[in-house]
Symmetry: C2
C-alpha cells in the first residue's frame, strides 16, 4: 500500500510553496501542471517527486523566477526562444504554443529554446500539439551520463525525444523515450535494493555489461550503435543548433546549484491538415494501432501494446485513486514545508492505495 494524494492537494501545496518564494503564476503554473500530469500518466521519474528539486533551484537562484523571454524570428517557420534561465517546463510550454501557432500558419513550426533548464517529461509538449490536431515532436539533451557505443566513460546524456499524433476515440499516440536503455532512477532503485540488473542495462568501468548492483556502473544507449546515433541527433539539435554546451560540458542537475544549466531544446510541429484530412488521419491511426494490438502475442506477454498504452491505463487509475507518493518523497515535501514555513497539515490528506494490483 502506498500513500495516494489527489492532484488538487498536491497542487495546493506546490502553489503555496512557489507563492512563498514570489514566483509569478505564469512561471509556476506550467511547472505544477506539468509535474502533476506527468505523475498521473505514471511517469514518476519526471513527476511530482521533482518538486523539492525545483524549489531548491529557485532558492539557489539557479532558476531565474522572473525571466525576460525573448523571441527571435528570422523566417516564417523558425523561431528561437531565449528562456533566460527560468524553468525548462515554463519555457517549453511557451515554445510549444509558439510552434503550434506557426504551424497553423505555415504548416510547420520549429522553435529552438536556449538558456533553459530541466525539461521535465518530454511528452507534456508533444501531447499539446496532438491535442491541437497536429503532430508534435520535441527533444532535449541532458548532462553526461551514458557511455557511447564502444566506449567505457559517459559522454552524452539520457537525451530524450517524443512524438505525438492525434487519434480517433482515444488519447493521442505518444512516444516519449530517453535514449539510454533504462533510467538512472531505475538503476539507483536496484542498487538500493541490491537487486541484480538485467544484462545490457548498464556497463562497468571497463565498458562491459554488468549485472552486479554493488559495482560502479554507467548507463548505456538503448539498441547499441543505433540508439547512440539517435542520441547524437538529439545532442546536435539541442547543443549545436542552439549554441548551448554539449555532453560533459553540461552543468549536472543535482549538483553545482549555484550554476545555471544553459540547456537547449528543440520543438517541431506539423499541421496535419496541410497534408491529410484530419478526420481520415485520426481514423486511420486508430485502425493502425488497433490492428497491431490484435496481433498474436508471444509467451509471457498479455497483449501487444503501442506507445502511451501503459500511460493511458495509469492515467485512468490515478485520476480516480490519486498519485502515489513514496515515504522519501513525502519526507522531502515536508522538509520544503519546514524550509518555507508552511503548514504541513495539507500533506495529511491521503489515502492508502494498492498501486500494483
Amino acid at each position: 500500500m502506498t500513500k495516494a494524494f489527489q492532484p488538487e492537494v498536491l497542487k495546493h501545496f506546490f502553489e503555496d510553496s512557489f507563492k512563498k518564494l514570489d514566483v509569478p503564476i505564469e512561471i509556476y503554473y506550467p511547472v505544477i501542471d506539468g509535474l502533476i500530469q506527468t505523475s498521473l500518466r505514471g511517469v514518476d521519474s519526471h513527476g511530482v517527486r521533482l518538486f523539492p528539486h525545483y524549489i531548491k533551484e529557485v532558492i539557489s537562484a539557479r532558476i531565474n523566477k522572473n525571466p525576460n523571454f525573448t523571441f527571435t524570428k528570422k523566417a516564417a517557420s523558425a523561431m528561437i526562444l531565449d528562456a533566460d534561465n527560468t524553468f525548462g517546463i515554463s519555457a517549453s510550454v511557451l515554445a510549444m504554443k509558439k510552434a503550434i501557432e506557426i504551424a497553423k500558419d505555415t504548416g510547420v513550426g520549429a522553435v529552438s529554446v536556449i538558456n533553459s533548464s530541466h525539461f521535465g517529461a518530454a511528452g507534456i509538449y508533444s501531447l499539446m500539439a496532438a491535442k491541437n490536431d497536429m503532430i508534435g515532436m520535441c527533444c532535449t539533451h541532458t548532462e553526461s551520463l551514458v557511455v557511447p557505443y564502444g566506449g567505457k566513460k559517459p559522454f552524452l546524456g539520457t537525451n530524450a525525444i517524443t512524438f505525438a499524433f492525434p487519434c480517433e476515440e482515444e488519447e493521442p499516440f505518444c512516444l516519449d523515450m530517453a535514449t539510454s536503455t533504462v533510467s538512472l532512477n531505475k538503476i539507483r532503485k536496484y542498487k538500493e535494493e541490491e537487486k541484480e540488473f538485467e544484462d545490457g542495462w548498464v556497463v562497468n568501468k571497463e565498458g562491459e555489461s554488468c549485472i552486479d548492483p554493488k559495482e560502479e556502473v554507467y548507463l548505456s544507449h538503448f539498441g547499441g550503435y543505433k540508439g547512440y546515433g539517435l542520441s547524437m541527433i538529439i545532442e546536435i539539435l539541442c547543443s549545436i543548433l542552439t549554441g548551448m554546451n554539449f555532453g560533459p560540458q553540461i552543468v549536472p542537475m543535482f549538483s553545482d546549484f549555484e550554476k545555471k544549466r544553459h540547456l537547449g531544446h528543440f520543438f517541431l510541429v506539423i499541421d496535419i491538415s496541410k497534408f491529410q484530412d484530419i478526420n481520415i488521419f485520426k481514423k486511420r491511426l486508430k485502425n493502425l494501432i488497433d490492428s497491431i494490438r490484435k496481433e498474436p502475442v508471444k509467451d509471457g506477454f498479455n497483449k501487444i501494446m503501442v506507445a502511451n498504452d501503459p500511460e493511458k491505463e495509469k492515467f485512468k487509475f490515478r485520476s480516480k485513486e490519486g498519485i502515489p507518493i513514496s515515504e522519501i518523497d513525502l519526507k522531502n515535501f515536508k522538509e520544503i514545508a519546514d524550509l518555507l514555513g508552511l503548514d504541513k497539515k495539507i500533506l495529511e490528506n491521503y489515502k492508502n492505495v494498492d498501486f500494483d494490483s
Copy 2:
C-alpha cells in the same frame, strides 16, 4: 579477392539499359547516381545490386517510367508530391530539392511523397540537405517484415530514418538506419552460409530469439520497445499522414510485380542559418564529434566512431579501387544485358581487389 568496377563502367552499363527501355534521363539519372553513391559509401544492400530489380520493375510496368509529378502546396512550408508510381529514388531526390527550396524561404520545409516505390538508401537525400548547409531528415516505411515488441508475427517493415548535418573539414554527420536490429540481407547471407545468428537479431515463430540459421525466423526491432516505438513513428509519417497503406497491406518488394507499391515517404529540411551562424554550427559539430572520437575505448574496439564514419572510410577506398560486385550480382547484370540485347563486354572491365584488408 572480389571483382571491382569503376563507377563509370557501371554507370555506362546502367544508362544503356535504361535507354533501351525508353526511360527518360530525368527519371533514370537519379536512380543510377543514387545506387552508385550508395555502393561507394559501402551500403551494398541498397546499392548497385538493386539495379536488376529496378529494371524488372520497369519491364513489368510496376514502375511508371513517364510519371506526371504533381505538387500540392496548402501552406508555405508544407508540400505533397505525388510520384505517380515512378522510382522512389527519382521522386525522393525531387522531394528533397523542393524541401531545401522551401526551407531557404521559410526556415523549414516538409514534403510528403505519395504513390512512390522503393526508397533506396535514405542517406542519399539527407546528405543533399547537409551539402546545402541545412539539416536533412527523411524516412520511409516498407513492407511487413518485423515482429512488434511482445509479438510473434511480422507487422511493420524495416522502416528507415536518416538525419544529416553539415560539418567543418569533413563530410556531413549522417545517421541512416533501419529500425530492425539487422537487415534481411544479413539474415539471408547467414542462412546461406549456415552461420549462427547473434542473440537478439531475429525471432522464431514463437517470438523467441533464435540463433539457428535453419529455423524460419523474422526480424525484430532494434532496442526492444523503443525501436518498435520509433518504427511506429515512421509508419505514421509515411502511411497515415500520406494516405498510403500500412504494414501488412503494403505490396512486397520482390513479388507481385504486376502491382504498384504505393509507398509513402516524408522529408524535412531545416535551414540552420535561421537558428545559428552556419560556420559556428559546423565548427562546433566538428568539435563535438572529434571530442567523442577521442573518448577511451573498451576492449575489442579500436576507436569510438560516430554515424557515417564507416561509410566515409569505405567511400575513400572505393572511390579509388572501385565498387565490389559479387559473382551473383555480376550474373544478374549479365542476364539483364541478355534480356535487353546489350553487349556484355563492358562488364569485363574490372580488377580484382581485396576489400577486406
